[in-house]
């Protein structure tokens, strides 16, 4: 039933393919988490400045993306993304056909989803900073940049780390949906292997174990980070 001999490295088994696929999953997760955090910062900024239009756009974005299945967002960006890029390129006078590669599309799609979750976490931890601190920084004559980097960021990171850890786990698991776009990550690799070997159980269990390892290890990493960042704070 479970064929261990199909998982050896080299030409006889799928071990090395799975290793590359795992690295691809990690790569997509890290890239989209990073891009997602960047998008989330912009979203939070749009929500907290006193501007109705930006706040409406940001709220619309987070509500819609969180209310729609992840698979649908991925389909939309995978099948509709190219058309958007081509039409943008046309504005700049570039008329040739452009095709984004699977990794770019995957990263953007997962980042768009992950950013909505991150933005909620970041917003909550921004609101947890007492206003007096920002006022105090202003009274000391700090400009906007140093307030952001020296007062706000360090505290937001500390408050947000547990939540960001959760978002990371969700993002990591969401990358399995990217397999529908043809990018060879763990899920796609297990489908390919099981189609070749006619043994889905072996490769799907392998995939499950790999995901379990990834989530467990990254969970530990985030625990360590949390301990590091909350030194001196008894929480």
């Amino acid at each position: 039933m479970f064929k261990f001999d199909k998982l050896v490295f080299g030409d006889a088994g799928w071990g090395d393919e799975f290793l590359i696929a795992t690295l691809m999953t990690i790569l997509v997760s890290i890239l989209s988490m990073g891009l997602g955090l960047f998008l989330a910062i912009i979203t939070v900024w749009a929500k907290i400045i006193q501007n109705r239009i930006t706040r409406f756009i940001a709220n619309f974005y987070t509500t819609v993306i969180r209310g729609v299945p992840e698979l649908l967002v991925i389909y939309l960006i995978f099948f509709g993304g190219n058309a958007v890029v081509i039409s943008i390129a046309k504005v700049f006078g570039y008329n040739k056909y452009i095709e984004l590669n699977a990794l770019t599309i995957a990263t953007i799609a997962i980042a768009v989803i992950s950013a909505t979750y991150s933005s909620e976490v970041l917003r909550a931890s921004y609101l947890a900073i007492s206003k007096g601190q920002i006022e105090a920084a202003r009274a000391l004559g700090m400009n906007k940049f140093s307030i952001f980097f020296k007062v706000i960021s360090p505290q937001v990171i500390r408050h947000a780390l547990p939540g960001i850890g959760n978002v990371w786990q969700i993002t990591l698991k969401d990358t399995s949906l990217i397999s529908v776009t043809g990018l060879v990550e763990i899920m796609r690799q297990s489908r390919i292997s099981s189609n070749v070997e006619h043994s889905p159980l072996t490769f799907l269990i392998t995939a499950a174990i790999l995901y379990l390892c990834l989530t467990t290890i990254s969970g530990r990493v985030f625990k360590t980070l949390e301990v590091n960042y909350s030194k001196g704070f008894s929480t």
């Binding site: 039933m1 819609v64 209310g67 729609v68 299945p69 992840e70 698979l71 649908l72 389909y75 939309l76 099948f79 509709g80 058309a83 698991k173 969401d174 399995s176 949906l177 397999s179 529908v180 899920m187 297990s190 489908r191 099981s194 006619h198 043994s199 889905p200 159980l201 799907l204 269990i205 995939a207 499950a208 995901y211 379990l212 989530t215 467990t216």
Partner: protein, 236 residues
Amino acid sequence: MIEFLNSIQNSLIYKNFFLVLSGLDNTILLLLISLPVGFVLALLFALGRVSKIALLSRTISSYIFVIRGTPLLVQIYLIYFGLGSVKFIRESFLWYALKEPFWCGVIALTINTVAYGAEIFRGGIQSIEKSQVESGLSLGFGKFLLLRKIILPIAIRKVLPSYGNELILMVKATSLVSLTTYMEMTGIARKIMAKTFAPVEAFIAAGILYLFLNFLMVQFVKYLEWKYNPHLRLNN
């Protein structure tokens, strides 16, 4: 005005909307079975998780660990493709359920929501103040009565917001069942896309329906919270 209405009626989104709408009942059917079953099982699993029987508690916590650590897609594929490839399952009575993508979807969704739900309810059960249990005991409540009258009602109403989140995640999770050839809303949208080569129109139609479904779910949870947390109502 009439011209405008006609142009709407001829637009692709409008046509797709009704095509996708025909998959709504399949989506709801998935939820109608997996959510109630998942709720009951999650409660039982949460009780087992906090019980003093070490073996039971261990088994359930490792089940929760495995399910929460793997993507739902892996679980769906494991049940649909994985179990179907095992010979003795194909020959057993289980095959009647497992050959249908619908039942595979229901089983996978239930297994998934039970793990998340059990963890949520465990939080609720463990957050009950000891004095409330003690006052129940002093009134001479037996174990079962204590559970039915004190522990479960307080635990469930406490975790309603987070269980509501889980319900919304489940609505979204049904879209993954489309990957096992089950034709619910996402599956139909995917088919329309393949036919018309108009991805945006097809998926926006499905997206609107999912948003609507989630909106209803949010209202339902809000109503439950209002009903079962009367002490938290702002104005009576």
